[in-house]
């Protein structure tokens, strides 16, 4: 089985889980079922992954967590790629002053540690919403994409078919849209796929620290945080979320690699 197929299958499965969470989850994720009897119960038939310290069903929380974490990651990456591509296209095609200005901005952006910015902003923000997290992660993640796109645009600019388009009298927007963009899409797509895995990790980290997805909304990160204090007594809480993160990041990695193999060598 090719990497691409495996990646698509895994990611497809994850996305399906995320979409179907409301149907698959036996209990509402925030429901505290029985603070007396069901706190920190080990996995059983009724609760396949046990319950956490607030007697919430872990399996349901994990499923909804998939939904939340994947949604955030996909939206954030879309935002990053969107902004990064626009900036990269502009800088690469225009060159000169525009290029310098944009790229120095990118350099500055890359110099600031993403997590630090996220930490500061989110810690100071009053009511963190999912939207806010998406915005922060998206707007701190576009710098790398813009560099890649710019490099591709600059090399595409000197290709003969782009020169041919200029000679034919095509206006710049048309050259960018029909000749350059389709031919730079490949590395962007690969970066995007790999990027989703990375954002899942970052979001998990932020949620773990308590400044990401606010409780009681489940995110794999905050599930780990919940499970940390009872790691020895109820290891399944933190472990299951940890495994979920690992599997997800791996799935997107494989997808990214598979896309890279599929897209690059064949279509020059």
């Amino acid at each position: 089985m090719t990497r691409l197929r495996m990646g698509l299958l895994l990611v497809g499965a994850l996305v399906a889980i995320a979409l179907l969470a409301p149907l698959l989850a036996p209990y509402p994720p925030a429901a505290q079922l029985d603070l007396e009897a069901l706190r920190g119960v080990a996995p059983s038939w009724a609760h396949p992954l046990g319950t956490d310290v607030y007697s919430r069903d872990l399996f349901s929380r994990l499923l909804y967590g998939a939904r939340i974490s994947l949604t955030i990651a996909l939206l954030a990456v879309t935002l990053s790629v969107g902004v990064g591509t626009l900036v990269g296209l502009g800088a690469g095609y225009a060159g000169g002053v525009v290029d310098t200005l944009l790229m120095r901005t990118v350099d500055a952006g890359l110099a600031v540690p993403k997590i630090f910015v996220a930490l500061v902003v989110l810690a100071l923000w009053e009511n963190v919403t999912i939207g806010a997290i998406v915005a922060i992660l998206g707007l701190t993640g576009w710098f790398g994409v813009s560099r890649i796109v710019r490099a591709e645009v600059m090399s595409a600019k000197s290709r003969e078919y782009v020169q041919a388009a200029r000679v034919l009298g095509a206006p710049p927007w048309r050259i960018l849209a029909r000749h350059i963009l389709p031919n730079v899409a490949a590395p962007v797509i690969v970066t995007a796929a790999l990027g989703v895995g990375q954002v899942v990790l970052v979001e998990a980290g932020l949620s773990y620290l308590g400044i990401g997805v606010p409780q009681p909304t489940p995110s794999w990160g905050n599930i780990i945080a919940d499970g940390q204090s009872v790691l020895l007594a109820a290891p399944w809480i933190a472990t299951s979320a940890g495994v979920a993160i690992i599997v997800t990041v791996l799935a997107f990695s494989i997808l990214g690699d598979g896309l890279r193999e599929h897209l690059d060598p064949r279509h020059p």
Binding site: E160, A164, R166, L168, N183
Partner: protein, 328 residues
């Protein structure tokens, strides 16, 4: 309209060459004061090896690169001064066919769309009419219109080059700049494409600037020939006269270096020493003198730059001792 269709005067183009952080950048003189004219219906061949500047001349004419000096007049219009809509309108009169039949086509665009694109860009036709005209263009260049749906990598080199020609013809130009249009093709395909180009020239009344390094190919196509070396024209004249008796020693060498498919051809081949020098550090005096095989070469060649001068009516050469090759 009298006068040449294309008149180029003193065209000059420099590229800065980075020489590291401690030295001032040098200027690579890719094209140095090139002047030429092409009459309507003619084919002027611009011949030279790598570093001669012929491709840069083509790029300047097509405004892909902006020259540093010189005038380019097409049908009386100052090409270098055009901008915006006027520049776009000019593109309908003068088009270009590129050397690399693969690189000059967008690999992700079907070839039918590539040929149709200029019609859309210039608003010449839309929808069904554009499609009809595309079909006609395909037929005109000898391609089965069924190939419109193909991608470049599915076609052979010869077919791709035909697509390139069809694309250039879509806007109905009067003048085509052909940048080594057959260099990347096999011999039998070359012959087909050259025949096509001649046929198109007659049928559409086209004028060609044919850029090439292969003199045997040039001989089949050119009415006049201009030979370039290190950014300058060193010889120019009617093709048959230049081929019969070249006046500049570089042209002698070029002609004698062309391999002829005849083992008996007792050719006293002139084999030049060294490689074509880089245009960054041209030697003083005549740029060709270090490699020049002229038997009458003197010190004057080392010191004095020979200018392009008429040596016979209608022929020019940039040599102090211009003459046909001795001993032939």
């Amino acid at each position: 309209m009298t006068g040449p269709l294309l008149a180029v005067e003193g065209l000059t183009k420099r590229y800065p060459v980075d020489r590291g952080p401690l030295r001032k950048p040098a200027a690579l003189l890719a094209v140095d004061g090139v002047s030429l004219t092409v009459g309507r219906g003619e084919t002027l061949a611009l011949v030279g090896e790598s570093g001669s500047g012929k491709t840069t001349v083509a790029r300047c004419l097509m405004r892909l690169a902006e020259p540093d000096a010189g005038r380019v007049a097409f049908g009386g219009v100052d090409v270098l001064a055009l901008e915006g809509t006027a520049l776009r309108a000019f593109r309908r009169r003068m088009q270009m066919v590129f050397q690399d039949p693969y690189g000059s086509l967008n690999p992700r665009m079907r070839v039918g769309s590539a040929v149709r694109e200029p019609l859309e860009i210039h608003g010449l036709a839309r929808g069904a009419e554009a499609e009809e005209r595309t079909v006609a263009l395909f037929r005109e260049v000898g391609l089965d219109p069924a190939y419109r749906k193909a991608f470049p990598h599915e076609l052979s080199g010869g077919q791709r080059q035909r697509v390139g020609i069809a694309r250039a013809l879509a806007v109905g130009p009067e003048f085509l700049v052909l940048d080594e249009p057959v260099s990347a093709l096999d011999v039998s395909v070359q012959a087909q494409v050259l025949a096509l180009l001649r046929e198109l020239q007659e049928r559409r009344g086209l004028t060609y600037l044919f850029i090439a390094h292969d003199l045997a190919v040039v001989r089949q196509m050119a009415t006049r020939v201009a030979v370039m070396y290190l950014g300058k024209i060193v010889e120019e004249g009617p093709a048959d006269r230049v081929f019969a008796g070249a006046l500049h020693p570089y042209t002698w060498s070029l002609l004698s270096a062309v391999p002829v498919p005849d083992p008996d051809a007792q050719r006293k081949r002139i084999v030049l020493e060294g490689d074509p020098p880089s245009p960054v550090d041209p030697p003083p005096g005549c740029p060709f003198h270090p490699r020049c095989p002229h038997p009458e070469k003197t010190d004057r060649c080392r010191a004095d730059l020979p200018l392009l001068r008429e040596s016979e009516p209608g022929r020019t050469a940039a040599c102090h001792y211009a003459r046909p090759r001795p001993g032939l």
